[in-house]
């Protein structure tokens, strides 16, 4: 039964934690409202056209990815940058460790990047005694707490000011202060020193622009700008799927990204970086390395039906609108990516049987597909993954569905069996039951009853009513 591997205890704990439930629901609720205001027909009348354009541009780019990767590399190199191709996280770490050693760099500053989370970059570097300090406030807090991000855009969604005060007092030796502004100033002060002392700055990239050999980084704090401008070396790490063909395509993508993520027409800072500082420029890194990461993306690329999973621009809108995510939060999803996008890509990266329950953790309500800026048809992909799971595994459930399919294609047997069930059903209250007799307390029935009352079969089914009516008997 594909339900057998559900992490029931953990889900139950999360749901029972009312403070956490409130935090998740409120934070996502706010982001839902902000997005809605920013894409309303009054404010952005061509929103649906923009989505369609973004979808098409992404499809075209990914269907010709080799061409655009080579164009990106040629342009980045022409502007003085160095392009590094990495099959996996190990190669990325090896490259950085090698470079750090050669340049004598021991301190690294880092801005938020889900891609680096995906490859556990910080752990790999730490293992070799290289400090990579997170500089995004939420990520910095998580780094001190040794925790994983809770949400693509709001990583420390689950932390309270008291927890942050405790953390800072304990790990930074500062006075215990629950005022959020002061906590932010503390982080600013501590991290400012790091920015200015670091030998290497590592960022991710929201987009890779093929015709410019450039990376585009969006943010609100300023730490990505500092990370890419203060240290003498800048390394940008990005999955190969982040490509867009032209700088001019940013008009569409930037418009969709900010609005879908946080309701902002533009984030506070957008950096368009195409290499190390040029002769004559006053400041900026002397070296720029662009790391292109595969780490399984070519596997997803190969599946034409599910290729659109790679269109994702990591806005987080699907998470915010998902009624399941809003109950179970980010930590209950395995892998780096949570929410609906995580539910479709993690099974593809790790194989469906790694977490067979994951594609089923959805009511297929479609809220995600409705808000996805690049029109990924997440419910369809979940259904595809579900059929892959059941193909791998035969069990009681398959037998049940097969039996039902037989019954439902043999109407006389169907009518007989259902009439019998109606007759044998216990009496309830107004047609509903709270508890079943002991011999019926199993499987799906028990699971249903754990949460709500169950309706009993009607004394007279519709088909029985119709039979009677057709024979001229009393109606209704």
């Amino acid at each position: 039964m594909s339900g057998a591997f559900v992490p029931v205890e953990r889900l139950r704990d999360t749901i029972a934690d009312s403070r956490l439930q409130s935090a998740i629901y409120t934070a996502t609720g706010r982001l839902i409202e902000k997005r809605a205001s920013a894409v309303s027909p009054e404010v952005l009348p061509d929103y649906q056209d923009l989505r369609e354009q973004a979808h098409r541009v992404k499809r075209h780019t990914l269907e010709n990815l080799d061409y655009y990767l080579e164009q990106l590399e040629a342009n980045a190199t022409a502007h003085g940058g160095h392009v590094v191709w990495c099959n996996n996280g190990e190669e990325v770490a090896d490259f950085i460790l090698g470079l750090a050693k050669q340049r004598g760099a021991s301190l690294i500053v880092k801005s938020k990047s889900m891609t680096t989370e995906e490859i556990d970059l910080n752990e790999r570097l730490e293992h070799h005694h290289l400090d990579a300090i997170e500089t995004d406030l939420g990520e910095y807090i998580l780094q001190l707490a040794h925790e994983r991000p809770y949400h693509i855009v709001a990583p420390a969604l689950h932390k309270t000011r008291h927890e942050v005060a405790d953390l800072f007092a304990d790990r930074l030796g500062v006075q215990h202060d629950v005022v959020i502004e002061n906590q932010t100033l503390t982080a600013r002060r501590v991290l400012r020193e790091k920015f200015l002392a670091a030998g290497i700055g590592i960022t991710g990239a929201n987009f890779l622009v093929a015709d410019s050999g450039a990376v585009v980084i969006v943010e609100n704090e300023g730490n990505a700008r500092l990370t890419s401008s203060a240290p003498p070396i800048h390394i940008a790490i990005a999955g190969i799927e982040k490509l867009i063909p032209r700088a001019q395509d940013l008009a569409v993508f930037l418009k969709l990204l900010g609005r879908s993520a946080t309701g902002q027409p533009l984030t506070v800072y957008t950096s368009f970086l195409s290499g190390p500082r040029r002769p004559g420029e006053v400041d900026g890194p002397g070296e720029f390395h662009l790391v292109l990461l595969d780490n399984g993306r070519t596997k997803l690329l190969a599946d034409a039906a599910k290729r659109e999973s790679l269109f994702c621009i990591r806005c987080g809108a699907c998470l915010n609108h998902c009624p399941v995510y809003r109950k179970i939060g980010g930590h209950n999803y395995p892998g780096t990516y949570s929410g609906p996008i995580g539910a479709i890509i993690t099974p593809q990266y790790r194989g469906v049987m790694a977490h067979p329950w994951l594609p089923f953790a959805s009511t297929l309500c479609g809220a995600c597909a409705e808000v996805c800026p690049v029109k990924i048809d997440i419910p369809r992909l979940l259904l595809d993954l579900r059929s892959e799971v059941v193909r791998e595994r035969s069990g009681v459930e398959r037998v049940a569905f097969r039996a039902f399919a037989w019954l439902a294609t043999h109407p006389r047997a169907y009518t007989l069996v259902t009439a019998m069930a109606a007759r044998l059903a216990p009496r309830g209250e107004n047609g509903w039951l709270r508890r079943l007799p002991f011999f019926a307390r199993f499987g799906a029935l028990e699971k249903w009853l754990s949460q709500r009352d169950i309706p009993l079969p009607a004394r007279r089914s519709f088909r029985k009513y119709w039979r009677a009516r057709a024979k001229g008997g009393p109606a209704a």
Binding site: S2, R452, D453, R463
Partner: protein
């Protein structure tokens, strides 16, 4: 003189658990001048099997459905999710079968049938009371059903419609999701119920019995004494 022949597909949930919804729908259609027929061979559209990943079993049920309703003039269904199974997903199961688009084009969700085929917004119904309307997900997102039921309810004499703040949030049923992830499903239902209670309405109405089953079951468990009704039942009220 009849306006047309309607073959109702009542759905297995209505047939076995909530027959009064089927009866109400038949009544409304009859009053509008349609000849209504229940083809007794009907059973299930195959949605539970399809959503659970069992494509072969779902395909079998789809073929059966197509056979049962082969030459029907209108097929009317009191459920958005079963309707979208026929109109949106049968094609995925049987891409080369020409009867699929043919039957699909004659398949209608109940409220859309009233508005777009019968072209009525006022069915002469009366229901005294305050009502809040829950948008079921497949109806909303796959069939674009949102304003239609509200227009129908607006014409019910004595009925006061109060919108809840979370009208378009999923009730948590999701077919087998409700028993594979019961804790999450229950929590989703309770969030929905909180929103419903804030309207202080007297009745919850929806156009899909699975949602109503989920909400009613959860409300009963929580000791909430609200009524749930299918849109058809409200429209049949006099």
């Amino acid at each position: 003189m009849t306006r047309g022949q309607v073959a109702v597909f009542v759905t297995c949930v209505v047939d076995q658990l909530f027959p009064q919804v089927g009866i109400a729908m038949v009544e409304v259609l009859g009053r509008l001048g349609y000849s209504v027929h229940f083809r007794e061979r009907q059973t299930c559209c195959g949605q539970p099997a399809f959503n659970s990943g069992y494509r072969d079993e779902a395909r079998r049920l789809a073929r059966y459905f197509l056979d049962v309703f082969r030459d029907a003039e209108f097929i009317v269904i009191p459920s958005g999710s079963c309707t979208s199974m026929v109109t949106h997903h049968f094609a995925e199961l049987l891409p080369a079968d020409p009867t699929v688009p043919e039957v699909a084009s004659r398949t209608w969700e109940f409220s859309r049938f009233l508005l777009e085929v019968a072209r009525v917004e006022d069915v002469g119904a009366r229901y005294e009371g305050s009502v809040t309307y829950h948008d079921s997900c497949h109806a909303l997102r796959e069939l674009s059903i949102h304003d239609g039921p509200r227009r129908l309810l607006a014409n019910v004499r004595g009925l006061e419609l109060r919108e809840m703040d979370a009208t378009t949030e999923c009730c948590g049923f999701g077919g087998t999701f409700s028993v594979k992830f019961p804790d999450v499903s229950g929590a989703m239902a309770r969030t929905k119920i909180d929103s419903i209670l804030r309207t202080k309405a007297h009745t919850v109405v929806s156009a899909d019995c699975s949602c109503l089953m989920q909400l009613q079951g959860a409300m009963r468990r929580a000791g909430v004494g609200m009524r749930t009704m299918h849109l058809a039942e409200v429209l049949a009220s006099r």
